[in-house]
């Protein structure tokens, strides 16, 4: 029993140390996870970590959080998943909240507000940059390009969540139609592409 608690605490603490590394996006954690979990603690092998990151992108939520939870689960069941997830989230929770409280404390300061006028302009650029990175892995053919355009237009009229559901449906329907109507060798080519994709990281923005 005590062994289990010790393992849970170790999981929590390992991911607590890794937490701040999520600055460059969840994938920035990979080298640290490899060092702590694969090399030092020998809890997992490298291939298992890669698999976890690929799988984490199929579950909603940030890659960093999901990966921590999956690894925690592999090592310590449900308790492990919780320990890892709380561990990786706690440092950033504290840091963000500290920054936020500081902001609210001094938000009347005219110099700060002046800074934020500039910062707001750069945030729009940051968001656009994330769009560009995501588009690189998301827009692979005419169909996906069409879905992209239709999506942007639709978002001015419908709720974002509805757009997400419709996008998922569009994916299922168009994949089905492509398989039905596409020439035989194209299906073989697509199958090859699908298999190689499972080892890549799908999401360009990796945040």
């Amino acid at each position: 029993m005590k062994e289990q608690w010790k393992k849970l605490f170790q999981l929590f603490w390992t991911f607590f140390k890794i937490g701040p590394a999520t600055f460059g996006g969840g994938f920035a954690m990979i080298p640290l996870i490899e060092r702590e979990i694969v090399e030092k603690k020998k809890w997992l092998k490298n291939e298992e970590v890669t698999d976890v990151f690929a799988l984490s992108q199929s579950v909603p939520g940030a890659v960093a959080i999901n990966s921590a939870a999956f690894i925690g689960h592999k090592i310590g069941g449900i308790g492990g998943a919780l320990a890892a997830m709380i561990g990786v989230s706690l440092p950033t929770f504290i840091i963000v909240l500290t920054l936020g409280i500081s902001y609210f404390y001094i938000h009347d300061n005219p110099k700060l507000e002046a800074a934020f006028v500039g910062i707001r302009a750069s945030i729009v650029a940051l968001i656009l940059y994330a769009a560009i990175k995501t588009a690189k892995t998301a827009i692979v053919d005419k169909t996906t390009f069409f879905i992209l355009l239709a999506g942007v237009g639709a978002l001015f009229f419908i709720h974002p969540v509805l757009a997400i559901i419709l996008g998922a449906l569009a994916g299922i329907i168009s994949s089905f139609l492509k398989r039905k109507w596409g020439p035989k060798n194209k299906i073989a080519k697509d199958k090859e592409k699908d298999q190689s994709n499972t080892h890549d990281y799908w999401w360009g923005a990796g945040i």
Binding site: T92, I119, R120, Y129, S175, I207
Partner: protein
Amino acid sequence: MVLWQLFKTFFLVGLVSFGGGYAMIPIIKTAVTQYGWMTAERLTNMIAIAGMSPGPIATNSAILVGYSAAGFTGAIISAVAMLLPSIILVIIVASFFIKLHHHPIVQSIFYGLKPIVTSLIIYAAISFALSNHLITPNISFRTITSLLIFGFSLFALVKLRWHPLHVILFSGLVGVTLYS
């Protein structure tokens, strides 16, 4: 009341947040406008702070929006609400050894979902450009300089490969110089 609104909103965000946090901005913005938690400009500031901090930007934004709307309790409720779908799904998927990413139906879903995620992020950019007066009929010193900051930031990110934090800090310095 506010706490329940926060919980509902961020549970939903957590449930559909595929492909990274920036795609969740339109959902957060819709809720912020609907419930009147803060102005669009304040929300942009929150997202900027969220971007300056380590951690996923969507979760960070949730924490800040929660704090702004309902203090420390709001922050915790928002964070927990966002993490709940993840932990539940991870446990289900892991327990049943489901190799989701190999499944053809899942791949089909993502074939359509990834472009929509891109749409969401583009829409977020347009929406923020409008609320922060980057796209506006009134031309002033502020709009022109904002556009220049925007342009340079994009250039720095794409071509110069600056870290987002450096871009934000640099823009802040320029802002202080120009606007105070």
